[in-house]
Symmetry: C2
Subunit: 220 residues, 2 copies
Amino acid sequence: MAIEYKTRTQLVVETLREKILSGEIVAGQALRQTALADELNVSRIPVREALLQLEAEGLVTFEPHKGASATELSAAQVDELFELRAMIEGDLLAASLVHITDHALAQATDILVNLDSALGKENAANTWSELNSDFHNCLYSGANRPQTANLVNILNKNADRYIRMHLLWAGGISKAGPEHAELLAFCQARDIDNAVAKLKQHILNSRDEIKAFLLQREAS
Amino acid sequence: MAIEYKTRTQLVVETLREKILSGEIVAGQALRQTALADELNVSRIPVREALLQLEAEGLVTFEPHKGASATELSAAQVDELFELRAMIEGDLLAASLVHITDHALAQATDILVNLDSALGKENAANTWSELNSDFHNCLYSGANRPQTANLVNILNKNADRYIRMHLLWAGGISKAGPEHAELLAFCQARDIDNAVAKLKQHILNSRDEIKAFLLQREAS
DNA sequence: CAATTGCTTATTTTATACAATCTATTATAA
DNA sequence: TTATAATAGATTGTATAAAATAAGCAATTG
């Protein structure tokens, strides 16, 4: 097993991404290159490059000569994002179920168990979010569509903040647990139509809950 | 009308993108930072940052300590890319047609005229490609979905190389002219279902032609 | 002679230093 | 008082220099 080498830029990317997703860096906050460089004990160059990469992921906004800031999505943008996810992930799941292996389905079952038990514990949002991502990727593994999978991951990196936020502040995606189980059941039965419908419903449900939460917050 | 300021990094991005899309930089070719910096009369930092941005667009691949190279998409990847485009652009068009203005449609008509006349002239591929992009964006202007529009643009930046290549080497997207006209007619009639079907067919047609061309080339 | 090790060179990655730009504050004039 | 200009400080953007890494070739060992 080879250890993977990581450049400082990559390490900074991962650190900053986690800070943004976890909410430690709040949306709209200016990201001063010198401050970050000092904090992380690197020079400004890797910080700049990391910020550029995060901009490409949509987590950071860059303005020439003005600097970077963590992007904040409005309720309307969240709406759009989840709608995109529903469409693309639905398509991906349909393509995946044709070829998905029993092994992948067994793996998804395992993840689901951990997912449920993660909710109560501390650091719930971070663990849950990671497992949630694993679960979904597992279901898409049969599709053999690397570009689409990559796109889905980028979209999820944007959605993740809002899912975590909701999980922390509002007690979680209330319906996620049973929805996951139902989804998995349809997948195991290779019932493509119902599985896709359930997945889309699952994504759009969380959209609705999150949007309601955001709108309420925007009002106040 | 304010002129827009551009950092060197942005200028390098544009220059390199154009070189890649036009085929001047061939796929797989190593992109040496020093060489590019000398050629463009800038230091290596803007070159690096430009390469990173292009990587995010999917036009360039970065390997730590090995450098960057222009990405080459296989026939399978092109397949996937165009399928994604058909799905997302179809959805975007449907959303757009509900609210699209007469002004936007008139603009699209104008572009179409230029588009047809661009085919014969020199530098056809570059002009055509740009106008083609304008035409489609024009039709999507009613959707008011900035994130989706942005995503579509990124996907198109990837597809563009193959469209241009096909245009140059194989005499063009043979059916594009009439298809565009038909598509516009459906849009003007606000016939959403037929317009979307026509758009998808249009995208998938070019996919088929390009894929056939690529497969033939891969064989030899 | 094959395989491995150590060195050389090319290239990338990171740091430091400087120049350009923006922002906020103060000073000046209408 | 209000608006505009000037200025200082902070911050970003770029260039150059130093360090880290990879790849290729020669030397060495079995």
